[in-house]
């Protein structure tokens, strides 16, 4: 591991010491790192009506009139900075410990990630591992409940899934050949899933190559259709434009110039990628014009990328200075 340079360490030590002092001042003078919430109560009661699925229809009622058979719950909304003192004084707001802990964790993890600027370190590695781990876990849970259960299990075992987790499901009644075809349509993907997971077994890993091959083949074919239609044919059509443009019957110089530039840029950039003829003479000069247009495009991309990264940094600093430290005055 490369050792951080002395000057870098000094600068960051100063930044963190100043930050720690500011944090202490803020903690002692304001509600730094606290999340206050106000509750909203909800209640629903069952009516005598039924929906098209045969299920009961529920309607919203005043929570104070709710009885034992009704469904009630409470949601909590964070109090905006401008209303905080008034709500605390009037006892409308209460300190939310789970959200406060979450806020501190978010702030700490942000600082851990930013600490990579000093050099690779255990805090950064811990935060990185947490991000990767929690993201993977979250995606898996989403995949199970949003895709695996409603799209596969609900089609293989509709009544069981309807009774268990998806009461809104209204499966079509199928019989005979229709039912058999429907089942086959979902049994094949189920078998492919098992084959894919075979990769985790100590032997027979080759079995997983079949579903992967099918997946890649289907994806490539599917994407090719979209690319040919939208990126090749439609773009060729969009690229063939009259260079003499008029507005209200009068020659429009700037519009014509715009289309002329587009045409030159397209042709010259294509010439650059045409390697069957040596890039000499006219072809070479045209290819150089193409390089210039591409460089301008890459420059625009780079500028936009910088803008995007600064926006991300600004968002994290807004979080640290605003939500966490309360340094940004409420407007």
């Amino acid at each position: 591991m490369e050792k951080p340079q002395g000057s870098n360490t000094l600068i960051w030590s100063i930044v963190f010491i100043v930050g720690a002092i500011m944090l202490l001042i803020s903690l002692s003078t304001s509600r730094t790192g606290q999340v206050w919430v106000t509750p909203t109560h909800h209640a629903f009661t069952v009516t005598s009506e039924t929906n098209s699925n045969g299920g009961a229809v529920w309607k919203s009622i005043d929570p104070s009139t709710a009885t034992n058979g009704d469904i009630t719950w409470t949601t909590y909304a964070a109090v905006p900075e401008v209303e905080l003192e008034d709500k605390i004084t009037s006892n409308e707001a209460s300190l939310s410990w789970p959200r406060t802990i979450g806020l501190w964790l978010a702030a700490m993890f942000t600082l851990f990630i930013l600490s990579f600027l000093v050099g690779d370190n255990p805090a950064y590695k811990f935060a990185e591992a947490m991000v990767v781990g929690t993201s993977a876990g979250y995606v898996m849970v989403i995949g199970i409940w949003d895709v695996f259960v409603p799209d596969l299990l609900a089609n293989l075992f509709p009544e069981t899934i309807k009774g268990w987790v998806l009461p809104g499901l209204s499966p079509e009644p199928l019989e005979g050949l229709g039912y058999a075809l429907h089942l086959v349509q979902y049994i094949i993907p189920a078998i492919l899933i098992v084959m894919l997971l075979w990769n985790l077994m100590p032997s027979g890993g080759w079995i997983s190559r079949w579903p992967i091959a099918l997946f890649i083949g289907v994806t490539a074919g599917f994407r090719m259709i979209g690319a040919i239609e939208a990126d090749l044919l439609a773009q060729i059509r969009a690229g063939i434009v009259p260079l003499w443009q008029t507005t209200d019957g009068v020659f429009d110089f700037w519009l014509s110039f715009k289309y002329f530039t587009i045409t030159i840029a397209t042709l010259s950039a294509m010439v650059y990628f045409f390697f069957s003829i040596e890039h000499k003479g006219f072809i070479g000069k045209t290819a150089k014009v193409g390089i210039w247009f591409m460089m301008i495009t890459f420059g625009a991309s780079f500028g936009y990328t910088v803008m995007g990264r600064i926006a991300l940094l600004a968002a994290r600093l807004e979080f640290l200075f605003g939500e966490w430290l309360h340094f940004i005055p409420a407007s």
């Binding site: 930044v15 929906n51 098209s52 699925n53 909304a77 993201s135 979250y138 995606v139 989403i142 995949g143 949003d146 895709v147 409603p150 799209d151 987790v165 998806l166 009461p167 809104g168 499901l169 209204s170 599917f222 994407r223 979209g226 690319a227 239609e229 939208a230 990126d231 439609a234 773009q235 059509r237 969009a238 495009t297 625009a300 991309s301 500028g303 936009y304 990328t305 910088v306 803008m307 995007g308 600064i310 926006a311 991300l312 940094l313 600004a314 968002a315 994290r316 600093l317 807004e318 200075f321 340094f327 940004i328 005055p329 407007s331």
Partner: protein, 267 residues
């Protein structure tokens, strides 16, 4: 660089925004729809791009609410669902008269990217038989008469990559000639501009375009202009200007040092 971003944030430095023709195109697409039109909003981004794209997404939501459009939310990214929830929270807190199922609805994440778009292009229920809370689409007033994507008046895509705007262009906008607008990260923006105007009705590129969009909304709807939450992108343009100015200054300084050194024979 850190200070050039941090100080404007602490000082709440912001600058006036002028709406560019590109941003105006996107604004006009939503604005010129008859009130109560069907707008599909696909948020194809995750928390990694939240700082850049959420202000844009929220601006689309507020604009649709101000126009009373019916909003159909979905995502092609597994971590996009919480991003959609933030827009739903905005609707619930700022537009309490709007009712879930009548004015806005959320569909869950579905795996498959472009395959999802292709399927809902012809049959919405084949991919989304239920909304995100498990209610059948036939039970919700705003979805019971929706058959497929072609019933949408506009598709709004907020995209951080693949699947995203490119896939919506390839599998929805081009084959079905659906009016589509995109808000995308700066990295993607130059790749999306060639789709204008045939395949995309407009593109918002990065936080700058989001700030201009907020400005366009504020000019038309003064009640939104007074909401500090609706100025998020504009707020982030202060640090942008200072940081970019610093960067341009450093590039010029570096070049000046290079040429002076070369003249002296040091380089």
């Amino acid at each position: 660089m850190l200070l050039s971003v941090a100080i404007p944030i602490l000082m709440k430095v912001s600058f006036p925004e002028e709406v560019s023709p590109q941003t105006r195109m996107v604004f006009d697409v939503i604005e010129n729809l008859p009130d109560g039109s069907n707008v599909l909003l696909s948020y194809d981004f995750d928390p990694a791009s939240e700082g850049e794209l959420l202000p844009m997404a929220q601006a689309f939501t507020r604009h649709c609410c101000a126009k009373g459009h019916k909003q159909y939310y979905m995502t092609l990214w597994p971590l996009g669902s919480p991003m959609v929830d933030k827009s739903l929270d905005t609707i619930r807190s700022e537009y309490p008269d709007m009712i879930y199922g009548e004015d806005f609805v959320k569909f869950d994440y579905k795996a498959g990217g472009e395959v999802v778009i292709r399927v809902i292009g012809t049959d919405l229920r084949a991919m989304f038989p239920l909304d995100s809370s498990g209610v059948s689409l036939d039970e919700l007033p705003m979805t019971k008469n929706i058959k497929n994507l072609q019933d949408m008046d506009v598709i709004v895509n907020v995209s951080a990559g693949d699947p995203g705007t490119k896939q919506w262009v390839q599998f929805a906008s081009t084959p079905y000639s659906l009016t589509t607008v995109s808000g995308c990260t700066g990295v993607q923006a130059p790749q999306m501009y060639p789709y204008i105007p045939e395949q995309l009705a407009g593109v918002l590129g990065a936080i700058k375009a989001a700030a201009e969009y907020e400005q366009a909304i504020a000019e038309k709807y003064p009640e939104i202009a007074s909401n500090p939450s609706a100025q998020e992108a504009k707020r982030r343009m202060g640090p942008q200007l200072i940081a970019h100015s610093l960067m341009v200054g450093l590039i010029l300084l570096g070049n000046w040092i290079f040429f002076v050194s070369r003249k002296r024979g040091e380089a």
